[in-house]
């Protein structure tokens, strides 16, 4: 199979990810932070190592402020619902995934003021539009780093500067960027960072994390056992335990750590450059096919490896099915859980076919996909 659905989840993973999960289940099955025996202690050390490597990758000073979650969506919900109360304001964008838009909609019904800053047809949100949407009630700006529909990368440093100057917290959904685009929470002024473990961080599905800055006070999403202060009925204040009640996903986290180690060794810059070259090739080649339009920005420097096309006549789902059945190529059609992004890009009615390039794709993958798409549209 030619796998070009890395926007949904990355495949393949480094072999070290699989072997780490296997080793965790086979040799390190104790519960980390729940006892004093050596296997439990070793498991907790390995879990901490993953926090440490994530902190290194995102330039976070305190690894304890990274909380493990099941995915980015869980982290986003923890942050939005743990922070915002009736009367507060949220500024977000039209390029958000439903992971942000749906909890934002629920919060709006509960009395939170929600303002949407619309991106241009290139899929990039102008920082000035975000600033214009801030009101005296605004407590949080929540922005996707990179669009899951067209790959457009937002200028986080500029938005972070606005948030700091206006005294508003800044949260970033890094679902499509963590691991393939540089993230520096300090330089970008990020207070809260939600990320999946299973996409460009190359970890197993069911992993993710939430960085919570020191200046952020969140109510815990769930409460329960933390392995500490068991005599108290009050949820502990210290992180990460405050937000990690119940047993963590040790095999998943150890697999995630292997993925992060792979990225740290190869470097984010190298992965970005690899995906940039393939993205440019894919975009250029797609533009030679009649009957389709590439969505979003034409500036490849402001894109991740996500490339979507809408068709003049063809049904995007049928095209995806043909690519799968006839050519064994995996791509994703539809609205990609991002309805407002498709409205922004003019593809809400038609939907789109999305290709997601990953660190292990090759030029041959891209050439074959474009050839197969061209033949499918001619058929």
């Amino acid at each position: 199979m030619i796998y070009l659905d890395n926007g949904a989840t990355s495949f393949p993973k480094p072999r070290s990810v699989a072997s780490s999960v296997y080793d965790a289940i086979l040799n390190l099955g104790a519960n980390p932070g729940r006892g004093g025996h050596r296997m439990s202690r070793l498991a907790s050390e390995k879990v901490f190592l993953c926090r440490e490597n994530l902190a290194k990758l995102f330039h976070i000073k305190d690894p304890e402020r990274i909380v493990f979650t099941s995915n980015a969506t869980q982290g986003i919900n923890m942050a939005l619902k743990g922070l915002l109360r009736k009367g507060d304001g949220l500024v977000t964008t039209s390029m958000e995934h439903n992971a942000v838009l749906r909890p934002a909609h629920s919060l709006e019904k509960m009395g939170v003021e929600v303002a949407i800053a619309w991106a241009g047809p290139d899929g990039i949100v102008a920082p000035a539009y975000i600033e214009a949407a801030i009101t005296p009630r605004t407590r949080l700006i929540c922005v996707t780093h990179a669009s899951n529909v067209c790959g457009a990368i937002n200028d986080l440093a500029a938005i972070g500067e606005i948030a700091k100057r206006r005294g508003v917290l800044f949260m970033v959904d890094a679902a499509q960027s963590a691991g393939c685009v540089e993230i520096d929470v300090g330089k970008m002024g990020i207070d809260i960072l939600a990320f999946p473990g299973h996409k460009s961080l190359l970890g197993p599905q069911g992993t993710g994390g939430l960085y919570i800055g020191k200046n952020v006070s969140l109510a815990p999403f769930i409460e329960g056992g933390t392995g500490t202060q068991s005599e108290s009925l009050v949820q502990p204040e210290n992180l990460p335990e405050r937000f990690e009640s119940g047993t963590v996903n040790t095999p998943g986290i150890l697999g995630l750590n292997a993925g992060v180690e792979y990225i740290l060794n190869r470097t984010t810059a190298d992965i970005f450059a690899h995906e940039w070259a393939l993205t440019k090739m894919l975009t250029d080649d797609l533009c030679t096919i009649s009957g389709l339009t590439v969505l979003g920005t034409e500036d490849i420097d402001k894109k991740t490896g996500i490339v979507s096309v809408k068709f003049e006549k063809a049904d995007c789902v049928e095209v995806a099915q043909a690519l799968d059945k006839t050519y064994n190529i995996a791509a994703r059609a539809g609205l990609h859980c991002a309805p407002l992004a498709h409205k922004t890009l003019g593809s809400f009615e038609s939907g789109a076919l999305r290709f997601g390039i990953g660190p292990f794709n090759t030029k041959n993958d891209v050439k074959t996909a474009v050839w197969a798409l061209s033949r499918t549209l001619r058929a």
Partner: protein
């Protein structure tokens, strides 16, 4: 000596930090005698490393909760609060 800390995560971070300075500390479950609840973690280290430990973890914004000397006499272990 033993120092109680807020969590196993903090204990592991202290262990990793001090290992970078060539100081070995052990992470262990806090003995019931000095724990308010029996579920908690502490670090164990040689007394000569105390000042280096306190200085280093302070540089990283970390802190210990309680500090104890460990004394063994007559087959019993006693924890003396410092």
């Amino acid at each position: 000596m033993i120092a109680t800390v807020s969590s196993v995560t903090t204990a592991n971070r202290m262990k990793r930090i001090m290992a970078g300075y060539g100081v070995t500390i052990e992470v262990m479950q806090t003995p019931k005698a000095i724990s308010s609840g029996g579920c908690g973690y502490c670090i164990r280290f040689a007394p000569e490393h105390l000042s280096a430990l306190l200085q280093t973890i302070a540089d990283y914004g970390l802190e210990i909760r309680k500090l104890f000397h460990v004394e063994t006499a007559g087959g019993e272990t006693h924890y003396v609060r410092v």
